[in-house]
Assembly symmetry: D2
Homo-oligomer: 323 residues x 4
């Protein structure tokens, strides 16, 4: 790790059912609305310190708009920009920023996902009824809906995970914590982090022929019990539960996957006290044979997990799952 | 943060009831024994990646032997040594290392606590029955006793917390995440971290006249429920529960404090998904008035928490609590 | 047990801050409003099968209006009425019933608490958005506030617990599951049940000189984690947390006590999987010495727990705690 | 309910891998050994009040030896015996009892399962290190293995669930709390209770052609977290996890199913605070269509759940799953 990047900042998610998606994220999933502007809603979990960690944007389709990381300083940001410009990966250049942060530098991976890095940010300032009882939390504990604590990670699909890994290491200085080594020599998946979290971004192999697709976005809960409770909340609200709750073999995270109304997959996850503290952590490599055992406690990976991404891919027989 | 120090590595704890303390830590608290040598037992939690995180040493008294941090690289270690030698704080110099790590550089705070930093370490290699079912954990999940996941932090007592803060910032490059500002202008307590953990070391004001004393050592559990279960385990084993389970106002950690057989205070704690990700985190400052509200849910801080440290301080009326 | 009484049905609670109390019970504590009539609000937990389990009544003061138990059949009800009329305890006779049930027979203990028993009841019929996803729950899982699952028990104060025990055994056929035997020969407290629950009513000795007072009313949560979460909800809503979360030594229940806006004490509790299944259960008798150890994990019983009841008792120096 | 039967008392389980099964139940599943005699081991959960709730018996095969219920009194036992003798169901008559209880009356359902009812029992008397810290628990909290609190229920297979229901109602006076009504008019499953538990025995339709087979035996944990922890314990001990953890749609129980070394299916379950308190509870009837939705949060019922029972059924292609 270069130490130049501090953490995943926010994800822009596209939806073609904007009001339904917004209702889901605020009332059911339990995020807070910081503001709305120009067809986007800015959302955050109750202990996210920035103005937003999810930018929900009205669009003709679904998927990810862009992925943003915050640098550790202005100088670190400059160093990253220089590295990206020297890398040969597609650089979009600077833009002025957004409601939630200042100038940001955009670039793109070879599979169509847009990234940005920024330093100047807007801290969320809780006022009135949103001021927390304890001054060390960013806002009042969210009492409605699933109410995760903070943004955790996202998962992107790419046709060549090895190349995606080179992109992440070169542009963000991410390190790899775990990966899947397929029998055919390809990487089946790769988990990255820029800090002590076990991962802040994962990439798994695209099998559907799509470009720039999103697999899922995840927020972290404080306890596993929060996820069991969330399952009942999703059930009562008619939300499609895709799989879980269960424990991942890879990374050991307790998980629950659902589809928001427009079909984007979202997860709630809990890593317990697990952190990557070793500065010389060696990536854990999983073989195809090991992966066939399913998840940690034996749950078989559900078929749609391998095929469903957003936006859906048009096929001769129609689009995949996100009905 | 300089980025030179990766994490708290281990704590050496002294005990004048060695066999009882060792029985407590292995059978009740739920650590694993990596080895014994020269009057010391080397212990680790089941997912600690190094050979040991607690060195339990037979001694004439109790308290802390030394506190060790691991550097992020050999070069980072050199930078830290240079900074320490330039600092004016007491430098002990290099020693050859220990069962669990290579060469280490020792130095001391003005209050008698010995620190060391090292780079070369010995990874714990699980064999036989201790090999985990999932290859991303350091050893088999510990099924007996309280079984925390990893070392979390320790708390030291110092007569001048402001001066201790200067020591931590200068020597380790730690940053302050929270602190107590007393009405008399002094710092009542200060919480430090070198990484994304909310704290790895805390210092609170010494009121008993002791030197180099330990307040407590803490391991992290994956869930709050692990701490509730631990309370029953301590109860059934006749362990003195000092206070908790409850939630700290400062740092929001769910906690439980007990005394091991020799009187050293040990804690189990759970921070949920809380991390310090902001690179420009501003310390949270608590006033004396705010602290009078007690812990997060109103529990009053128990009197012994202000007086009991190890080793006990001899007074005209005997020693303090650790009977 | 006679088998004539099925379960605690509902409690009528008086409040001199009706709207504030109603807001507390619906928005914060997490009960559902079934209806309002004649200065009362009828409330139930999301899985209570009857129309109401809490009748909140506007009054000049606080405390308990009446306590209702449901009989196991019409014949069983008749048998109980005959037993009560033969008992010498004060019989008020029949009344027509209420919004939530049919004819009920009222009687009174020697300490001024009014009881009633009934058979005809009104089952809660969930409609519209309140219909549960799973047909075996009484209504939709409550997603806001603390959201306990069902009414659990209440605690009444009486000057002579031994006499109160005779009342409960004679009139309701309750059995005693645990009790406190004071050194002076008196009973300090007594826990009763009419079914497999560990207790549905407790009585502790009145020390404040009041008559017919309430100590607390309790709803049950599914998990202990629900109570930890509730503590944060109470904290964020400025509710007075009196004591807990902690585990009772008596009955082993995990608990949290707060005061609703008018000063009535309410509890959330979780008994885990503990039930009294033995038909010949022998009461567990606690001595005064044993009780001095405090709660299960050592928490000292808070002073107000011994003095605060509702309604408050007028003294020369003012009323007790319920400010 | 007649009120004659108090609760499920114990289950005799047969094993052809006795020592392995005993090791599983004591070290991994977390029961305590009360005694051994004549090829059987007598086991109990830490808060079961009787000498044993599981009798593990060395045999040529697997499955259930007998199922025992305790009566509420000697007179109630006599009433039940008279009812059974008048019923036309197969009566085996009295036997002298066992290590754990006095005289018992045996009878049999039409599908080959042997039942017994008894009144005289042997309470477990904890001594020495097994005495609990709190006198209201039957023995010391079990700190090793999964450590459920008490016996909960069992599930038997029968070719005609309607006839089995008549057996349970006639012989034990059980009431039905939930059931599955198949489109073909048959009952697919039926859940019974003799007390306030949501069920103590379930019967599902036998599809494998076996007679007198066992589907599973279940112990109750205090919290759902205990079951998540148990999943890791099973994983680390190489125990076959068949399905879960997840939440049943029927009864809403949180569950985890594993196979003990001889192939008998055992479950850990948690019902939260759910009880059947209504004396006039109407059975919840699930249709085939509703059951096709899978478990509460969408998990599909695993195929072996419909076919695997013990003892295995011999087929031309070998025996079913219990390899």
């Amino acid at each position: 790790m270069t130490g130049d990047i501090a953490h995943l900042g926010h994800v822009e998610m596209l939806t073609d059912r904007f009001e339904e998606s917004l209702d889901f994220f605020t009332r059911v999933y339990g995020l807070k609305l910081s503001g709305r502007a120009d067809g986007s809603a800015y959302l955050r979990a109750w202990d996210d310190y920035e103005f937003h960690t999810l930018k929900l944007t009205e669009a003709q389709t679904t998927g990810v708009g862009h992925v943003a990381y915050r640098a550790t300083s202005a100088e670190a940001l400059d160093r990253r920009v220089a590295a990206i410009e020297a890398s040969g990966f597609a650089a979009h250049g600077w833009h002025d920023g957004d409601l939630g942060h200042g100038p940001a530098y955009r670039f793109e991976d070879p599979f169509g996902h847009v990234f940005e890095i920024y330093w100047d940010t807007r801290r969320y300032a809780a006022t009135g009824n949103d001021r927390p009882a304890l001054k060390n939390t960013a806002s009042r504990y969210q009492q409605n809906g699933c109410a995760p604590r903070r943004l955790d990670h996202l998962n992107l699909l790419a046709e060549d995970v090895t190349e995606f890994r080179r992109f992440m290491q070169t542009c963000l200085g991410s390190r790899v914590t775990e990966m899947i080594q397929l029998d055919n020599g390809r990487l089946g998946g790769c988990w990255f982090t820029v800090n002590n979290k076990t991962y802040d971004l994962a990439c798994t192999e695209e099998h559907g022929g799509g470009m720039g697709r999103l697999h899922h976005v995840t927020y972290a809960t404080d306890q596993r019990e929060d996820i069991l409770r969330a399952a009942d909340i999703f059930l009562e609200n008619g939300v499609h539960i895709e799989t879980g709750p269960h424990k991942h073999a890879i990374q050991g995270t307790f998980f629950l996957y659902v589809w928001e109304p427009a079909g984007n997959r979202v997860e709630l996850a809990n890593a317990g006290a697990r952190l990557i503290l070793a500065p010389d952590w060696q990536p854990v490599v999983w073989t195809e044979t090991e992966r066939k055992k399913g998840q940690a406690w034996g749950l078989k990976t559900i078929e749609s997990f391998h095929t469903h991404g957003t936006p859906p891919v048009k096929t001769s027989s129609g689009t995949d799952g996100a009905a």
